[in-house]
Symmetry: C3
Subunit: 341 residues, 3 copies
Amino acid sequence: MKFLRDNWYVAALSAEVTTQPLSRQILGESVALFRSTSGQVTALADACPHRGYPLSRGHVVGDRLVCGYHGFTFDCSGACVTVPGQERVPARANVRHYLTIERGAWVWIWMGHHPTEGSPPETPWLVDVENWSSVSGLATINASFDLLVDNLLDLSHETFLHGQSIGTPEIAETPIEVEVDDDAGVVRVYRHMNAVPCPPFYARTTGLEGPVDRWQDIEYSPPSYYVLHARIAPVGEPPRPDNSDDHAFHMKILYGLTPETETSVHDFWALARDFRLGDDEVSEFLDRMQRAVVKEDVDALNLLEERRTKVSEVSEVSVKVDRGALAARRVLRALNERAPA
Amino acid sequence: MKFLRDNWYVAALSAEVTTQPLSRQILGESVALFRSTSGQVTALADACPHRGYPLSRGHVVGDRLVCGYHGFTFDCSGACVTVPGQERVPARANVRHYLTIERGAWVWIWMGHHPTEGSPPETPWLVDVENWSSVSGLATINASFDLLVDNLLDLSHETFLHGQSIGTPEIAETPIEVEVDDDAGVVRVYRHMNAVPCPPFYARTTGLEGPVDRWQDIEYSPPSYYVLHARIAPVGEPPRPDNSDDHAFHMKILYGLTPETETSVHDFWALARDFRLGDDEVSEFLDRMQRAVVKEDVDALNLLEERRTKVSEVSEVSVKVDRGALAARRVLRALNERAPA
Amino acid sequence: MKFLRDNWYVAALSAEVTTQPLSRQILGESVALFRSTSGQVTALADACPHRGYPLSRGHVVGDRLVCGYHGFTFDCSGACVTVPGQERVPARANVRHYLTIERGAWVWIWMGHHPTEGSPPETPWLVDVENWSSVSGLATINASFDLLVDNLLDLSHETFLHGQSIGTPEIAETPIEVEVDDDAGVVRVYRHMNAVPCPPFYARTTGLEGPVDRWQDIEYSPPSYYVLHARIAPVGEPPRPDNSDDHAFHMKILYGLTPETETSVHDFWALARDFRLGDDEVSEFLDRMQRAVVKEDVDALNLLEERRTKVSEVSEVSVKVDRGALAARRVLRALNERAPA
């Protein structure tokens, strides 16, 4: 499959972008991301037009970026403004500028060679700090994008791969419901586990004891954005008819899926909660737990990709739990067919 | 040359196979080897039919292997017996089972896509612990199988590559006799060094002093099995006419040659002796010595393979000492021509 | 571009060549360099004709080299003189001998498949220890030869890449003059900076204070030899009409550019001065400084090469400071067209 360029992707964690430029490969393109001294995020093609040296190795002076090899200098629109040893600046010396939008912990980028369409997804849980507390991170996986999609769309793996942390036997045993909203371009997978033991990490952070209702509702907007709506509540107390649900605990587990190359993918994650707001001990615990979970995924997917490159053809036997992943693949395939070559 | 699949190969040291599955690549195929709680060795294709995850990353429950990604479960015949989230198990979910036979320190495997022919070679010296004491090990070499065959069939290299341990000047100087038994498919190379100084490692372990008769008789059964019959005895005292030879010291140096990929090979070794039986100090000394010798071979062959990939054509000038290796190549070529594509 | 074989290249630092053979890849060929016990440097093809084992892994006995695998033995002309296990030595067992000439800190080699033409460049500054003190070193760069040529011919990069050591703003700002001597096959680039602040490393080693005249005159003899004539003197005191110039301080910065493979290059350097002769403290300081400068170049060129392999086409916008490098490219292209296939 080719890259789906005309989309918004997460390019970086907000905290990664500073006046010290960052080099990041996105959809096979090297991008230099930096903050001017005024705080504005800028993304430029990470290659000086002079001799190809990575601009990310240069340094920021005010709102300009100076190449670290021969000193070609660029403003935040990518225009070359200074060339050493001469007055005239050749017009060919400009570099590509990418549009970026910063939303809470994530910086989004438009990778299209066509004009921007729409806006990045709203992620209120990362922005509304009055009602949500969040942690976030990034792991880059040496596996192709589609293996990460498979992983996230079939949470039955939590029981086995993450059995020491978030996984419980009920996840693999509970049937799922799958729904594809073709108009909105969204795949939804529902898994409602009622009257199940409270997993230890929820018990520790919510204070709930004994059996609970645990819901996991996936909302995947191909290609680049995924949110898992997790709900944990006392048994038999669903949301009220007016949709209010303040007797439950909610967690939003967000993923930004950004292909790095054809065989590697940036796995941006964020984990927001509506309880124990601002409690650093809980934040640190959840951050540590999620990093461990992501590491298990990274190890598994790295291994799968490594195997896939060795073996000419991998057989695949799909079962009921795979319906979410299969639906996501169909949507991605359709996007791919419609995408410009 | 293609892999000679319809043969028995050493797959693992017996001690390597436990209830914690082992992943081993053999003739380019990934195999998961494990011991059920009853002690039986099982070998299955190391890829879950569901999504290709290595079964060797799973865990053994009784005599079943549970995949570590989504929990597909297999019995010791490779039949899938459980799939998460549903009752029915699709027949396509079975994995290939490989026949294995455990003989002393080595586990043999049948890699053929055709029914088993014959049995693995008898290795009484690893099994008859009343009369033989042995040590064993494995080194995997980043060099193709044929470089290991060359190495083992021309022991004149002991004088130079292993000059600090088992090599003496006489080995390179003494002419060899070569014999090919086409019916049995065996290559034999004899090197009888009479009235030569006793090499230090034999002096230390046998107590012999002064000159000795030192015989090295290679018996290579292509492709996968090699035994060097080493005999050391007082000068001028050959085996008696009735073949009894208890005035001599014997060592059997066994090699299992198992291609891992087209450019790497597992070098299984074992070293059995009929003297100082059960003497741990001698066993440890010989184990240490043999590991050092094998490491010298590994380094040399890794280097040769590395060179070979860089250079388009390597010239080769063969001399008398190469006759054993050249005979082995002829037999291997013939096996290759007869082998199914 | 193909390798320009019919040329002299620096093969090794003199100090690297000992009775312990050295393996060095030059223009894609593996060469074993060693010193016989009489001190003579010998260079042979680094592959035993028997089974291709690197001769550099063998050992020197007198003026002979013994292969470390099976003991084939060669004299300093590359003739095989001994084969183990037999009297007769096959004529095909000889290896290629390369002509070498040792000049001060550098050992030159003729890599041509044709007879030697001319001699290696004279480098009096490395040989005449009465009047010059020098330090020298080697860095191997994972970048192709042409990236090193670009780097050395455009010293405006000193201002940015080496801004912490040898670079000052004046280098990038001062216009250059470029001259190509087609008959001699030399590219010259002049950069005369008059009445500029004395860079700290010159102030420290010469004792000059306040503004100075600083000249950088490049003389590049493609493909393999480069010397930068650096002159630092009190303001307004050029060399006298009789060319005497003893009121100035001179430094010769020599580079031997020796392709290792198509994508890597040996960067031999030497730094000779005509002041503070024999002063170890100054030598150590300059050695340390130059190693740091070379490391900055190595890091930059490694990165450029890495980028170049990822990106299909790197755009290039040349400006005035590039005229030296562009002239060098033209000469190299011409040499390439004339070179045998």
